[in-house]
């Protein structure tokens, strides 16, 4: 990339510089508008070594208000990141509604390396690309504008630039052996790039190839693309026009053999004595499996949903009572806070994904989208309908990473719930557990039932199945949940050991 020059520029160059300045000023304006309108922006700058990514990014951010963007440089994943699904570290960094997230390299970096070095099987590579496509679609459906720039550099030009870096004692260390090896494999990388561009040039997140030979031209091209796309998006948002009708609402997945609330046998019971004995054996087993899970680095995700006062808390407590607190975490989920609201609704769940070897227990979960948010009208019909697919994709992503999953609906009938509410009312130590919202929710029993049954139908998958827990008898419910967790972990251990 030719150096920025300070001297007196030629006439042609002057004209380009003037245009850059115009676009930069417009971009600064659009950044403020996006912020006002709550439009998150995600910019990916990809390219091989010495393609000039740093220079382009610095040109891009000069006009911007630093309050409104964050540049993230993507290197190889850290140890901590390797213990999560590969998209985890990108989900964590997705922009909030007030920010631009600028990525210097991205989720594509390791996929390119994997393809060239053949370090991932063809099948796993396909899975990864499919996860990437789902990720970008979800971002976009959540209102994020995505830009993907690919900076092109010829092998010859790359050689020249690397030589220039090497000849300067201050920058020579940047040309590592790994960089030279990648340079030697230029042709293989070029092929991997073409395949990557083809597989991920999506209607709502297309690639823009940018020749990097001339910095000013490249800058102008990038700025112009940012400006024209954002101008369109800001225009739409100002008129409160939804960007496009959302696709895919009709063909939702539905799984057979999913549970149904009408199938619950709420007369199921367990005596105090049998309970005590079974509980002890189950807790010992869990303690043992917890060690195994840690040793084998298997992540475990457990989801507890259920009616108010169904006994989720007590059920979870029996599960964790003898577990090592260093290896599990209970995440109670309530209404999102401001920061969470400013992100994609799945963001806060992605960020809580356990390290491989750890257990995360969600006390309520992402299913809130298709339960409370649906019933109470906190999101639009299009949004909760679309959520089934997004949730299935997220859980599939977790399974690609070898995650053990179990999902519970702890069920009680209306009479039992009423008894428990009344008991809480009368116990001064438990009154705080009950509020007006609980009483209001009770009145919407039927719409909630419909939502629960549809959730079962649309999100019951072989490796992340729903279990309906009959909860009128708390003892029965606790043992049943423990049994399901034990079976799921044992299957996970068997899969891993194969």
């Amino acid at each position: 990339m030719d150096a920025l020059t300070y001297g007196e520029p030629s006439k042609a160059k002057k004209s380009v510089l003037r245009k850059i300045e115009e676009q930069a000023e417009e971009l600064a304006y659009l950044q403020r508008k996006c912020r006002e309108l709550g439009i998150p922006v995600l910019i990916v700058v990809e390219g091989l070594s010495a393609a000039g990514k740093g220079t382009i990014i610095n040109q891009m951010i000069q006009p911007l208000d630093p309050r409104g963007f964050k540049v993230t440089c993507i290197a190889s994943p850290s140890r901590d990141e390797q213990l999560r699904p590969f998209l985890w570290r990108f989900w964590r960094r997705t922009p909030s509604a007030e920010r631009m997230a600028i990525f210097d390299r991205s989720w594509y970096r390791n996929l390119l390396d994997a393809q060239v070095n053949d370090s991932l099987g063809a099948k796993d590579l396909q899975k990864a690309y499919s996860d990437v496509r789902a990720f970008e679609r979800q971002m976009r459906d959540g209102g994020t504008v995505i830009f993907k720039f690919f900076l092109e550099v010829s092998k010859k030009e790359q050689a020249t630039r690397l030589a220039a870096l090497q000849s300067n004692p201050v920058t020579a260390w940047r040309v590592s052996d790994a960089v030279l090896q990648r340079h030697a494999k230029y042709r293989e990388y070029q092929e991997a790039v073409e395949s990557m561009l083809q597989q991920t040039d999506l209607p709502d997140s297309p690639w823009l190839k940018v020749a990097s030979k001339n910095t000013n031209q490249a800058t102008l091209k990038v700025l112009s693309n940012l400006v024209s796309t954002l101008r369109k998006r800001v225009h739409e948002a100002s008129r409160e026009v939804s960007p496009d009708p959302r696709p895919g609402l009709s063909k939702l997945p539905a799984f057979s053999n999913a549970p149904h609330l009408s199938n619950a046998d709420l007369t199921s019971q367990l005596s105090k004595d049998s309970y005590r004995e079974l509980l002890e054996a189950r807790q010992r087993k869990i303690q043992e499996l917890h060690h195994e899970v840690y040793r084998l680095r298997i992540p475990v995700v457990l989801v507890y949903e259920g009616w108010d006062a169904a006994g989720k808390g007590g059920n979870i407590r029996r599960l964790t009572e003898r577990m090592d607190p260093r290896g599990y975490e209970v995440i109670p989920v309530s209404a999102p806070n401001d920061l969470e609201k400013a992100h994609h609704y799945l963001w806060r769940f992605w960020t809580e994904f356990p390290k491989a070897g750890h257990v995360t227990i969600f006390d309520r979960s992402w299913y809130g989208r298709v339960l409370v948010e649906r019933v109470e009208g906190f999101c639009t019909e299009a949004e909760w309908k679309q959520a089934y697919r997004e949730i299935n994709e997220m859980e599939e992503n977790f399974r690609h990473f070898g995650t053990v999953m179990a999902k519970f609906w702890v069920h009680v009938d209306q009479e039992e719930q009423l008894r428990r509410f009344q008991a809480r009312e009368q116990n001064p130590r438990k009154q705080w557990k009950l509020n007006e919202e609980d009483w209001r929710n009770r009145e919407k029993w039927k719409p909630y039932e419909d939502a629960v049954n549809e959730m079962f139908l649309r999100t019951h998958a072989p490796k992340s199945p729903w279990t309906l827990i009959e909860g009128n008898c708390k003892r029965f419910a606790r043992i049943k949940a423990l049994d399901v967790v034990i079976a799921a972990i044992e299957r996970g251990i068997a899969d891993k050991s194969r």
Copy 2:
């Protein structure tokens, strides 16, 4: 630690179990009260291997609402954490006003290891202990209640427990070589522990030694301590009594040769031609030094404070224009958001500390505490007076880590500010930069001047000095700031290379 038993307990044991239950219930109540009153709670559980830390923590959290606490297990610092001052990873995890943070091991872990293995010189160890004492005092002065439990285990008991772990195939892997080595050095560890307890048994964060032989007794002791201390604190907070008069307000540090606003020569000027030439040379130099800083892993922290419209933004832009965006970040600081408000006021700055080798530029900073918050009355007089010491301690902490620091006050006089405000008003592209608050701040010029001069006096330290930048001529101001940054980095490189 003896196992929890399920069978029929003895009479004495029954009495202990009943007391544990009472304390647990009371703790659950106090947790909710602390949350309502906004009292952050920090609990440290320390102890040698197999002292039963996990068991005690699990007993402690069983009665708690999972919404209100977080257990963090402290292992050796990750690569990312090693690139920050050692307290960084603990600052990041300090509790918000709605949370209990429970640490399984803590900042004491590595200090113990360092003392036994002699991996830190005596002088550096003293520095570290002094940083720890300042950290705990700051937490406490910020309203956090700190508990520090040290679980004692005899060498014999440790041997028995390790043998039990080893004999079980499920837990044998937990007894690593490192654990056995520490066991062999039991006596050395015991000595290090005694010295640590002595040096950090502070009035407001005392250690409580807990014999771990009998789990129930240990649990009861820990729960009782939590309950009695929190009950006292909740009582005080409910009556809105400040816990204690804050000490140390009288003997504030003051540095000679600090700048003073009256010394600024605002007639300083630089012609356009000289500016262009000097700018080019300085920017090239910065670009070069930025590479060196990265290579040598030196963290750089630059602070820009100044009047509204003094030109901080443009000044920062000239500094970063040719820097590699992967190695610097501009952090614009405005009023804290909800999450930030729920933490210690220094929390958000600690979390933004650059990785070693990176440059972080704060556009406004922690000095807001002694500037805007002081002048506008956003904090109490005791709070901003105490802040000088806390800020000096934080910066000293940064310096202990080898951080290069420079702090700028960009200065203009009232006439120049008025000219710039009026120019902004008349330029439709710049109107957004000006708001009513700017006009209001102008009216408090004198109290701000006093605050600035006192800030200079109290926080001008040899390795984090203030520089007064005369800003009526923007060109002059930019070159002067660049020169100071260059000199500071060159000194840092020389120090590091020695």
